[in-house]
């Protein structure tokens, strides 16, 4: 038994010592930079939310780890943020919603008004859509159609007036899959968010 243990240590001591030292190195780096990484993430999300809710002075979590419908009937947990204006009144809500795009997962930051009746629009948190086609979802001609649109069911149309603000969204030319993915993300998430805000009594008036 002892000879086996001796053999094991003789054969693998370098691996054991190196694993410990390399692990320590990673732990030190992580401890030194994890706060900065978390700060970067928070700043990015805050920046994206602030650009959508123009009256927002600060954000606070309204519903922590709310369940939103994901792909294949699964649910995804996300925080719903409440935007507060300078007087401390609710200026709107914002949250992260995701869905499957043409190439990869699309993550959007979506914002709605305080009554959850109108959309403030969306910003792209992450996407790998085709350059020159699907990534045009970031362009104003597509994204501006959502600003001020009703929070009811959105419809995708191929031909129409992109300047008209209603529940009909004109698709990106040559990127129907990406356009459909964005519409699906909205339709799935907004309904769920609205219901959860109502349940928590966070929507004023006839928010539904």
């Amino acid at each position: 038994m002892f000879s086996k243990l001796k053999y094991f240590i003789a054969e693998s001591w370098l691996l054991l010592v190196s694993s410990f030292l390399f692990g320590l190195l990673i732990a030190v780096a992580d401890a030194a930079w994890s706060a900065k990484i978390a700060q970067n993430k928070a700043e990015k999300l805050s920046g994206l939310m602030t650009s959508l809710v123009s009256d927002a002075n600060s954000f606070e979590i309204a519903i922590k780890e709310a369940n939103l419908p994901g792909n294949g009937g699964q649910t995804v947990k996300t925080d719903i943020y409440k935007a507060l204006d300078k007087q401390g009144n609710c200026a709107g809500f914002a949250f992260i919603a995701a869905g499957t795009g043409f190439a990869d997962k699309i993550e959007l930051v979506i914002a709605v008004d305080a009554r959850c009746e109108k959309l403030f629009g969306f910003n792209v948190l992450s996407s790998n859509e085709t350059p020159g086609f699907g990534d045009k979802m970031k362009n104003a001609i597509f994204s501006n159609q959502f600003k001020g649109a009703p929070t009811g069911k959105l419809e995708l149309i191929k031909i129409g007036d992109a300047g008209k603000i209603d529940n009909e969204i004109v698709a990106i030319s040559g990127a129907t899959v990406t356009s459909t993915a964005v519409i699906n993300i909205f339709n799935k998430s907004i309904k769920s968010v609205k219901e959860q805000l109502q349940q928590k009594g966070l929507i004023t008036g006839n928010g539904g």
Binding site: L14, L15, S19, I26, A29, W33, K36, N40, N128
Partner: protein, 206 residues
């Protein structure tokens, strides 16, 4: 005296071999994932190149230090362990201090772990040579790789966006070639550059 000069030549050779004679991208055709994936613009390509230099130098240094203790059955696992450590540190650094670049490069920074160049240099050089030689080899190979990435990225960015490192270089009215930003652009550019590299090598040999 003769021995001293031959040692000097070797050190210089370690530093310069990766620039052209053993350039990982144009001559050895190894580590081809980043040249195809992260060369849509110069800045991310440069960031990737610098990350690879850091990982190559650190892993070569670590492996060279332990080269006399490496047993055959532990060799590959020790290479992977040291490479993964430095890639993780590099990834954390980028996420903390260059979040925009980290986001653009995405999964390709963690994927440096499986980059052939690093494991190849560990096996071919660092596990057989002293520390200084291994460090110089890492700098040389990494620089050669970075230059190759930047050449590809420069061509693609100019043709796809009319800019070089974000600075407009094409005349007004230039129509961007969207295809150069897509995978097809990477394959075409790489193919043409490999053809050019072969042509230059053949001419030199003749």
């Amino acid at each position: 005296m003769a021995g001293e000069s031959s040692v000097k030549i070797n050190y210089l050779g370690a530093l310069t071999a990766g620039l052209w004679r053993e350039n990982p991208t144009f001559r050895l055709l190894i580590g081809m994932c980043p040249p195809l994936a992260v060369t849509t613009a110069v800045k991310p390509a440069l960031t990737m190149g610098l990350s690879v230099i850091f990982v190559l130098v650190c892993s070569n240094l670590a492996i060279s230090l332990m080269r006399n203790l490496l047993k055959p059955h532990l060799r590959i696992i020790m290479f992977c362990l040291s490479i993964a450590t430095f890639v993780t540190i590099c990834d954390l650094y980028l996420r903390a201090f260059a979040p925009v670049m980290s986001e653009i490069l995405g999964a390709y920074v963690p994927l440096i772990i499986v980059n052939c160049i690093i494991i190849f240099r560990a096996e071919a050089c660092a596990s057989k040579n002293d520390v200084w030689f291994s460090i110089l080899d890492g700098i040389g190979s990494g620089t050669g790789f970075t230059i190759a990435l930047c050449i590809m990225a420069g061509i693609r960015e100019i043709l796809a966006s009319g800019t070089f490192a974000g600075i407009a270089v094409m005349p007004r009215g230039f129509v961007p070639w969207a295809a150069m930003q897509m995978p097809v652009g990477a394959f075409v550019t790489l193919g043409l550059l490999l053809g050019l590299a072969s042509l230059l090598t053949a001419k030199k040999a003749n």
